[in-house]
């Protein structure tokens, strides 16, 4: 599978032949009534995009990271765009893919959080809090619903957190197709090529993740973010890192930089830019 957001959900050319670009000139839903066409086209590509989100479980929680960049095609267009979002008290949702769809998702998540707080006394210890699993289930339904309307939200989401009742770490993925899965380490986009092998070296199973310390997990994530910055041209040095722990709650740093880089390998790479052989 090609993990470039532009290719998400597209049939591969090798399998189905080249994409018929005439379809891309089809009218959109708004023009439906005025055009003589008998089909509609909704979103077929993301416009402003965020790259990978990566996350791993450890003994008592989850570490999740995403950089703070929104690209317009290959142009690194907006800096300081946060893509990790706190929902409720023990959940962080990481969002990659189309940034305007992400912003739409945020208003939905805000509403979800507020509706849960209605008539739900926050000061008592007897609160029916939003759990990561509820938020994930809701988002997964939303994503699948939208893809079934042939009008997907062009994102891949990682929901991370701890269940405030049981203290169990939670980590699950859902994307624009409504596909969902859980794993001790999850990455979206380019991260699933570059970060996952590194993270699986740390913890290849739930059992191994349950042995992982926060420091190990954090280092794994930081190293992966470094590798991603080396090799993913849509990534930035500056990123956000959140730790959700069952005992200490959410620790969120939106201003981390990739450190201890070595670009020595770059001198051996040829074939792009202004470099001459």
């Amino acid at each position: 599978m090609n993990h470039d957001p532009y290719s998400w959900g597209r049939p591969s050319d090798a399998m189905y032949g080249q994409y018929n670009n005439a379809i891309a000139n089809a009218p959109n839903t708004l023009e439906h009534h005025s055009s003589g066409s008998n089909f509609n086209e909704n979103t077929t590509r993301p416009i402003v995009t965020g790259t990978s989100v990566i996350a791993i479980k450890y003994k008592t929680g989850v570490v999740i990271a995403a950089d703070n960049l929104a690209s317009y095609g290959s142009l690194l267009r907006f800096q300081g765009i946060e893509r990790l979002h706190k929902v409720g008290k023990t959940t962080v949702v990481g969002i990659s893919g189309d940034v305007s769809d992400m912003q739409h998702l945020l208003t939905i998540l805000d509403q979800l959080e507020m509706e849960n707080n209605y008539d739900n006394d926050e000061y008592s210890d007897n609160v029916d809090e939003l759990q990561p699993s509820y938020i994930f289930e809701y988002l997964a339904n939303l994503m699948y619903h939208r893809r079934s309307k042939m009008n997907p939200l062009w994102n891949a989401l990682i929901v991370s957190g701890v269940d405030s009742k049981t203290g169990k770490p939670f980590l699950e993925y859902v994307n624009l197709l409504g596909v969902k899965y859980a794993s001790p380490s999850i990455a979206t986009g380019f991260g699933s090529h570059l970060a996952i092998p590194l993270l699986r070296k740390l913890a290849d199973s739930e059992e191994e993740a349950a042995e992982l310390t926060l420091e190990q997990a954090k280092k794994g994530i930081k190293d992966s973010m470094k590798v991603l910055f080396y090799r993913d041209t849509r990534s930035s040095k500056n990123y956000s890192l959140a730790v959700i722990d069952k005992d200490t709650g959410i620790a969120y740093d939106n201003n981390v930089d990739v450190e201890d880089m070595s670009w020595k390998f770059a001198k051996d790479i040829t074939g792009y830019g202004t470099q001459r052989v």
Binding site: D128, Q131, E137
Partner: protein, 233 residues
Amino acid sequence: MFRNNYDGDTVTFSPTGRLFQVEYASEAIKQGSVTIGLRSKKHVVLVGLKRNEDKLSSYQKKIIKCDSHLGFSLAGLAPDARILANYMKQQASYNDMVYGKKINLNKLSELLALKAQKTTQTYSGRPYGVGLLIAGVDNLGVHLLEFQPTGNVTELYGASIGARSQGGKTYLENEFENYLEIEDLDELIAHGVKALKQTLKDETLDIANLSIGVVGEDIDFTILEGKHVEKYL
């Protein structure tokens, strides 16, 4: 024909600010046979006396299950209760599907209150003529709620509604501090049956007319009828 000028519909206030039609709807509860609900810290028990039209007919259902963690008993117009049961089932299953979570009793009570209130403020339609005792368990523990046609939904340790229900209520008021601490479900049911017996006049309890509903942190909502209630008589 009417008792006064202000009781013809639900959209007329009396000069003292009362809504007679809604009050009359609440009276419909007393036409139904009695049902009693009570709870401990771990369980909720509903008991109800079923009625039959005549000796050969079957008994009217008294307790309805809405989800694995939720059910209610009713007094009053059973068809109205079925409308509300369908609504509760729908809301419960929606919650289960969308959030992967059993519906919270507080949320359910707000929804029911809104639904019932609507009928008391508009000319078309009429208020529900039924009272419900809702028993359920959620993340916050066990709950017993009383629903009324006015749209009032209250959370209680014990409730008794229906014909001659006062005897049961008095029993509950005297005993609730004791039964609140009970760990054993059978003991709690025994209290419920005892409370029910305070309301009987001509009837006697038997396996045909006693209906019991239980739910708790360790047990899904279960309806006990027929030979299963024998040991509680």
